[in-house]
């Protein structure tokens, strides 16, 4: 996936969006230190960073923004797979936590009350009971699958609804396509 070139006609010349936002890309280094944090340097002093996926659903391994604690972008990793194995492992560890969502394997029951819908589900992480608003629907993700957001803000992901068991699919029928 590459950034689309958006033509901006300035006095007859074509300026690409990449040129507008271009930043020199010095050598990016990533390491996990003893304090348990991911440290990144991009030409300057190493700083502890947090990783933010730009496209968590449509392109999870591309465009990962590394930000220091004050929110400044230290670097933008275009493709995680182009990193060295140790750096990739360090970054993937960070992403596994930052991008963590519960993953539904089985739906046991969906019970409707006046304003909430109570779900009993089995997730990869363990059994869980959750509530969603009656007028809140699972979100269909750009990369396929659905994600359910409960009243506390937790996200529950189903990669492929059609691969669930019959009962789960039947329970989900009214809520997803």
């Amino acid at each position: 996936m590459t950034l689309k070139t958006i033509p901006l006609r300035a006095f007859g010349s074509r300026v690409t969006l990449q040129e507008l936002v271009a930043s020199p890309t010095p050598v990016l280094t990533l390491e996990r230190r003893a304090d348990g944090r991911l440290w990144a340097a991009n030409g300057g002093e190493p700083k502890p960073v947090t990783a933010h996926r730009c496209f968590p659903w449509s392109a999870p391994t591309q465009f990962v923004s590394l930000r220091s604690d004050d929110g400044t972008e230290i670097g933008l990793v275009q493709d995680v797979n182009t990193l060295s194995p140790t750096m990739r492992a360090a970054l993937m560890d960070e992403l596994a936590v930052a991008g963590f969502v519960l993953s539904i394997q089985r739906v046991l029951d969906i019970d409707e009350e006046i304003e909430v819908r109570t779900w009993r589900v089995i997730t990869t992480q363990g059994p869980r009971t959750l509530q969603t608003g009656r007028d809140e629907w699972p979100r269909e993700l750009p990369g396929g699958g659905i994600v359910v957001k409960d009243v506390a803000g937790d996200l529950y992901h189903v990669g492929n609804v059609s691969l669930l068991d019959t009962k789960s699919r039947k329970l989900l029928w009214a809520l997803v396509d």
Binding site: A96, V97, A98, E112, I114, V151, G153, L155, A174
Partner: protein, 763 residues
């Protein structure tokens, strides 16, 4: 109070989540033992382990320690504790569903503890982390032992309780309480119920009379066994009786419908008034917890739904049950074999209708979702039509709409397919039962194997007529669960509000400040909205009558909270707010608020005329004084230019006034009520420079001779202030006149002021 809340919150957690509703006693004792007996002050659950699986770990804070408890593989509890003095930093990294918090000691070294938790634990965990970080400023409950449980349960149950009012309720108790509202109308209920019972009983009579006529009149005559003249009287008596029964039945039916619908309306009215009166009594903190829309529907739709239940539901359901029992008894007593044949399938029919209702609910949910997808396109594109046109995306939007429209229609047709198939099928079953009854009845009517007929034609006709009466009550009983469920839900939503106690209550013999001088003192005031994070820390100041105080500083610093405490929308958690030397908790709130005026950033005008809006605080003000106030507020000129003048309708569905115009009307409102203390909350922040000048002029007239607290972002509007308070993170960091603060080269005020000056010069 907190014990009652704890009980409800624990019920909510038990019913809606899979985590303990409080820290298990065993764990708590274990932690406290490891601390040498010191108590747990606050705790939270960390529900994810290193491998990101759901688990149950506890983090607790005490006066001197932090402890983390977890279960080892042999399910024994382990605890690791460290002294709070070691903690240098608490660092949270929020993710999509998992937040990681690291409690750090020595920089660079591995953290003292790392906890991972889902969003569900977020509020409780934030409170714990806050206590670890800024321990000394937290004002803990006096009852320390329960406090930790109360806080934990409140935080975990919070999101669920905010999403749904009816949590962990006992339906029977709610229903009984709802029926209690019928008490004042006891006699009407008795008459209505009697009439309804009468209708039910009387409807059993005509079929009996029909059978009687056939057996005692028609057949004897047609068989030649009796002369027409002899039985004519009997026949006409029976027909007459039938007519009388019909008339009485209709009459009783009319009485019942009328009485009960009036009654339902009365009860709904009583509930609405009680609810609205209660809403007016409730403190503002209640309104910040609940969505306005949800409160409006409680007063309007929920009470209306209860009308339906009280007027029709209660009677219909109870009588349908009586009717089914009555019919069954009559049928079995007429002919027990045929009777049983008819009555045994009835429970199954009720069940079928119940199941059908459930299936329809699923279909409706799906169709409703499709419908809201369709509505999304509309609410997206119609307000955003300029963007659609600017980017020339009409074709795409049309396609998007048509796709969703077709999808919604598909789902609605499946609803129609379901119900149109169900009811004829149900009728088919009922008619099959009728046929079956005939099959069994024919041999007995005509006599088989040379035996005489055992079933008379009349009895059988009665029987057939009774059978037709089964359908309606079966339908009602099948839908009973839904009707009762809807009613209890609505009732619960209403009772929840009624059961909320206002937090601001006057003392038994409140002081009336009359006349109010306007001296305002904050004496070591600490305040927090959630009981944990303090918004104000030990704020103290003394303001003389007639002073104008400018409150400046970054947003979220606590400026508006000071204003709210001054208006007694809330009471301080510690310290006191004194007016003329009297603690506000001791004054008559209503009388006091009459002497406090507020002009807010986005003034609210009520639906009504400009005249009514200006005299909202003083309903009997003379017109001359209103015009004076409007002139002083620089509103008179623009009001006169409106075609309807002061009679112009404003507010919802009224004339659109600009922000500056509404602001000037609200200033006129404040001038007219002539308050001793005036609060201006960013009153000029949303208007252009010219309007601002006019408002400023009006404001200058308004503030004369009053104690004024003005919150402003544009510091130029505070040039008249006698003193300025700079409020940062809940504390007064700078205090002095404009000149004094500017003279201090390090002052925050100076920095803000020069920044604003630069912007103005740039423009």
């Amino acid at each position: 109070m907190s014990a009652k809340h704890l009980e409800l919150d624990r019920k909510v957690i038990d019913r809606y989540t899979d985590q303990p509703s409080i820290m298990p006693m065993e764990v708590r004792r274990f932690i406290e033992d490891s601390w040498g007996g010191m108590p747990v002050q606050l705790y939270a659950c960390a529900d994810l382990d290193e491998s990101m699986s759901l688990c149950e770990r506890w983090v607790a804070v005490g006066p001197e320690h932090v402890g983390v408890a977890w279960q080892s593989a042999d399910s024994r509890w382990k605890v690791r504790t460290f002294p709070r003095v070691l903690v240098r930093q608490v660092h949270e990294i929020p993710g999509l569903s998992c937040t990681v918090v690291a409690i750090r000691g020595t920089p660079g070294a591995p953290p003292l503890a790392t906890l991972r938790y889902t969003q569900r634990q977020r509020r409780a965990m934030e409170a714990v982390m806050f206590l670890i970080r800024e321990g000394e400023t937290v004002d803990l409950h006096p009852d320390g032992s329960v406090a930790a449980d109360v806080e934990y349960a409140r935080h975990v149950a919070g999101p669920i309780k905010e999403a749904q009012a009816m949590v962990a309720a006992n339906d029977v108790a709610v229903l009984r309480r709802l029926l209690g509202y019928l008490k004042p109308y006891r006699s009407r209920v008795a008459i209505g119920m009697t009439a309804a019972a009468f209708v039910t009983a009387l409807s059993l009579v005509p079929p009996y009379l029909a059978g009687f006529l056939i057996d005692r009149v028609i057949r004897p005559v047609q068989d030649g066994g009796a002369s027409a003249d002899a039985v004519a009287t009997l026949a006409w008596v029976a027909v007459g009786a039938m007519a009388v029964v019909m008339v009485i039945r209709q009459l009783a039916g009319w009485i019942r419908l009328r009485l009960m619908s009036f009654l339902g309306e009365y009860v709904a009215r009583d509930l609405r008034s009680e609810l609205y009166e209660h809403l007016q009594r409730l403190s503002l903190s209640f309104y910040s917890r609940k969505k306005t829309g949800s409160l409006i529907t409680r007063v309007s739709s929920d009470t209306d739904r209860l009308w339906e239940f009280l007027a029709l539901g209660v009677v219909d359901v109870s009588l349908a049950v009586v009717m089914l029992i009555g019919l069954g008894t009559v049928l079995i007593s007429l002919d027990w074999r045929l009777g049983l044949l008819m009555t045994i399938p009835v429970p199954f029919l009720c069940l079928l209708i119940f199941l059908h209702g459930r299936r329809m609910a699923r279909l409706f949910t799906r169709a409703w979702r499709k419908w809201s997808r369709l509505n999304d396109v509309l609410s997206d594109t119609i307000p955003g039509m300029r963007v659609v046109k600017a980017f020339n995306q009409e074709t795409r939007e049309k396609a998007r709409f048509n796709e969703r429209n077709a999808d919604a229609t598909r789902n609605f047709t499946s609803i129609h397919r379901a119900w149109t198939a169900f009811w004829p099928s149900l009728m088919f079953v009922i008619h099959s039962m009728t046929v079956l009854v005939w099959v069994f009845a024919v041999p007995r009517l005509i006599g088989a194997d040379g035996q005489a007929p055992v079933l008379s034609a009349g009895t059988f006709v009665s029987f057939l007529l009774y059978m037709t009466m089964f359908i309606a009550p079966v339908e009602i009983v099948g839908q009973m669960a839904r009707v009762v469920n809807r009613a209890t839900t609505s009732a619960h939503r209403i009772f929840e509000v009624l059961d909320t106690e206002p937090e601001i209550v006057d003392v038994a013999e409140p002081v009336q400040l009359h006349p109010l001088q306007g001296r305002v003192t904050f004496d070591n005031v600490t305040f927090s909205y959630d009981g944990i994070r303090s918004v104000l820390h030990n704020v103290s100041f003394d303001v003389q009558p007639g002073e104008m105080i400018g409150l400046v500083g970054p947003s979220g610093g606590g400026k508006t909270t000071i204003a709210s405490l001054l208006a007694r929308f809330y009471d301080p958690k510690a310290g006191a707010v004194l007016v003329d030397g009297v603690d506000l908790r001791r004054v008559d709130t209503g009388h006091y608020r009459k002497q406090v005026g507020m002009v807010l950033q986005d003034p609210h005008l009520f639906h009504g005329t400009i005249l009514e809006n200006i005299r909202y605080g003083v309903p009997d003000a003379e017109v001359e004084r209103i015009i004076e106030a409007a002139k002083a507020a620089n509103a008179h000129d623009f009001v006169c230019r409106l075609p309807h003048g002061y009679d112009t309708m404003v507010g919802e569905r009224g004339q659109n006034l600009s922000g500056g115009e509404r602001q000037r009307i609200s200033i006129a409102r404040a001038i007219l009520s002539d308050p001793r203390i005036l609060i201006l909350d960013e009153a000029t922040s949303s208007v252009d420079t010219e309007t601002e000048a006019r408002i400023q002029e009006a404001m200058d007239r308004l503030i004369a001779r009053r104690t004024v607290f003005a919150i402003a972002h544009r510091l130029s509007t505070l040039r008249r202030a006698s003193r300025l308070f700079v409020i940062e993170s809940g504390r007064i960091t700078e205090c002095g006149t404009h000149a004094e603060l500017l003279a201090n080269p390090k002052s925050m005020y100076r920095r803000l002021y020069s920044m604003q000056q630069e912007i103005q010069h740039a423009v």
